[in-house]
């Protein structure tokens, strides 16, 4: 089964839930491979203790860019009209490609009468795999800064995770998704079975979760929710299950040990296994594994 942990709004505790779920499954009876699909800000490996053993690292070239041969360019600027992505700009009469905006569609190349535009492939990031110090295999998508096409990178990271899970005979893949509902999140949800939406009791988080659930419904991923930091002061969400229209697996209180576990680079279940938060997490994960995954 592929389980995606996502949220819409950032900072609600996706990585916290994903890391502890993966660690829980690894230490109980369910071997697992974790995927960090938050390619613009990947932190999952760090949360699971950092790299204990590096398995591999592969560069990924997932985007094409236009390049102009100025020996042939007649400065007719037809390319400018063809580009739909604001990726060409005129500087001193000549067209210039703004690399980060270029989608590599070749519309400029098609209209160029001087045949002076070609495409090249650009490296956009890496996919790496490690066994974390806490013993969880983690595949990480890491996008180059300013990079695009993180969806493709996530897709490749997930493919590597599946290959690794076959090798390790792991039945489950846990994906820690990016914030938001765009390209990388859609790639995270593509082909997944279950979504765990991590919600905190604030209006922006509830709104973000609803937008995410809309996407999940389109992609036919079965949605669940976890209410994190439910005892946040002055929050006013009484019934998240009713609010979101999905089953809530449980509520996690806020406690300083959550931050302390991060600082100590351990999943909370390893750092404070007997604490109140860990107790709740175990209840939630036990129910999830026994009732949802089976």
């Amino acid at each position: 089964m592929e389980i995606v942990v996502a949220s819409g709004k950032g900072g609600t505790g996706k990585t916290f839930v994903a890391a502890n779920l993966a660690y829980y499954m690894k230490t109980s009876v369910e071997p697992v491979v974790a995927v960090d699909a938050d390619a613009e800000a990947p932190d999952l490996l760090l949360t699971l203790g950092g790299s204990g053993e590096e398995l591999f690292e592969k560069p990924v070239s997932a985007s094409r860019k236009a390049s102009i041969d100025y020996n042939k360019c007649t400065q007719c600027l037809k390319c400018l009209d063809a580009c739909r992505f604001y990726a060409l700009r005129v500087i001193e009469g000549k067209p210039f490609v703004i690399e980060e905006y270029c989608e590599g569609c070749n519309a400029c190349g098609i209209v160029c009468p001087a045949n002076c535009i070609s495409l090249y492939v650009k490296e956009t990031g890496i996919v790496r795999a490690d066994v974390s110090r806490s013993g969880v295999p983690v595949v990480t998508a890491d996008l180059d800064v300013g990079g695009r096409n993180s969806g493709e990178l996530v897709f490749l990271a997930k493919s590597e995770a599946y290959a690794l899970s076959r090798e390790l005979k792991a039945k489950h893949v846990v994906v820690d998704a990016a914030a938001g509902i765009g390209c990388p999140v859609i790639s995270s949800l593509a082909g997944a079975h279950v979504l765990i939406t991590v919600v905190e009791p604030t209006p922006p988080s509830i709104s973000g979760a609803k937008r995410l659930l809309e996407v999940a419904e389109k992609m036919r991923v079965k949605p669940f929710a976890v209410l994190n930091k439910f005892d946040m002061p002055s929050s006013r969400i009484d019934d998240p299950a009713r609010e979101l229209g999905v089953e809530v697996l449980g509520k996690i209180p806020y406690h300083r040990s959550v931050v302390e576990a991060y600082v100590n680079m351990k999943p909370l279940l390893a750092y404070a296994p007997d604490g109140e938060v860990s107790k709740r997490l175990k209840e939630i994960f036990n129910y999830f594994v026994e009732s949802v995954l089976r």
Binding site: T12, D43, V145, A179, G182, V259
Partner: protein, 290 residues
């Protein structure tokens, strides 16, 4: 016009919180525009009771194939960079809207002018205002649409003229360090990097600061350490990172008043102007405008 990008890498560090309050403070000096560029999950209107006055649909191209004119040559299918057009064995052409980027290559290559321009909605631009001198523009991606980076580019490119009418343009950015962020910081004069004293905040901040090195012009960068005093926090590491790069640091303490102001849907600088949190925000506004 001075453009201020509020960003920082990790999600949930308080970007929207800082952006809204900063815009509110700057608007007491001069005309200010708050731009919500977190198009996947725009939240400024949760923190600011602005009145939305206009909503515009953001549309892009989709091909409408005229079967009567189509010669079934397959050039559109062959040239489609996103593989959004597929030809079946019976030569029917299928279109997958979710994959289409709207590049119009199919229309460009069709030798029989069989591809017509259709439109589809990718999101919304919302326009509102709060008080006399603060206006708001929100970019909102339609759920299910992949292309958030381009939505941000459009939000900026299509409002350049509008930006010029203001003394301050404050852009609330999405989390991360990808192309969407690059679109925003490229346009900025000042970047307010909002982080939190956790290893994740630090890790993502470092990646975000690397992104800033790619911007060719000189940027003024201010680090805001939000939720300062979080138990077990890494305030010192964040400060070290800032001093290595010569960045000024402003601490904003962790406070329940922040959540309360969200629930009240009022900027904390209006609701609790004497609080330590508000004092930190005033200091950010001072540094930004100096």
């Amino acid at each position: 016009m001075k453009a201020i990008a509020v960003a920082g890498g990790k999600g949930g560090t308080g970007k929207t919180f800082v952006a809204v309050n900063l815009a509110r403070l700057l608007s007491s000096r001069d005309k200010t525009l708050l731009v919500d560029a977190d198009v996947e999950n725009p939240s400024t209107l949760f923190a600011l009771p602005a009145e939305v006055k206009e909503v515009k649909q953001v549309e892009s191209f989709k091909p409408l194939i005229d079967e009567a004119k189509c010669s079934k040559c397959g050039l559109c299918v062959k040239n489609c960079p996103e593989h959004a057009l597929v030809m079946l064995v019976d030569k029917r052409i299928l279109y997958f809207e979710d994959l289409c980027s709207g590049c119009e290559v199919c229309k460009l290559v069709c030798p029989s002018s069989a591809v017509n321009r259709g439109l589809r909605v990718e999101g919304l631009f919302k326009y509102g205002s709060y008080g006399e001198s603060l206006d708001v523009v929100v970019g909102e991606l339609k759920p299910g649409i992949r292309r958030s980076g381009f939505m941000i580019t459009r939000l900026i490119e299509e409002h350049r003229g509008l930006f010029e009418k203001y003394s301050y343009v404050v852009v609330d950015s999405p989390p991360g360090s990808g192309v969407g962020l690059l679109s925003v910081v490229k346009e900025a004069d000042v970047v307010v990097a909002v982080s939190e004293p956790t290893p994740l905040g630090l890790n993502d901040l470092k990646k975000f600061l690397t992104l800033l090195e790619r911007v060719e012009k000189r940027l003024k960068v201010i680090l805001v350490v939000n939720k300062h005093g979080l138990p077990g926090g890494l305030e010192r590491d964040l400060e070290e990172e800032a001093s290595k790069r010569g960045l000024p640091v402003i601490a904003i303490p962790y406070s329940e008043l922040v959540v309360k102001s969200y629930v009240e849907r009022r900027p904390i600088v209006d609701l609790h102007p004497e609080s330590q949190v508000s004092k930190g925000l005033v200091e950010v506004a001072r540094l930004v405008s100096s």
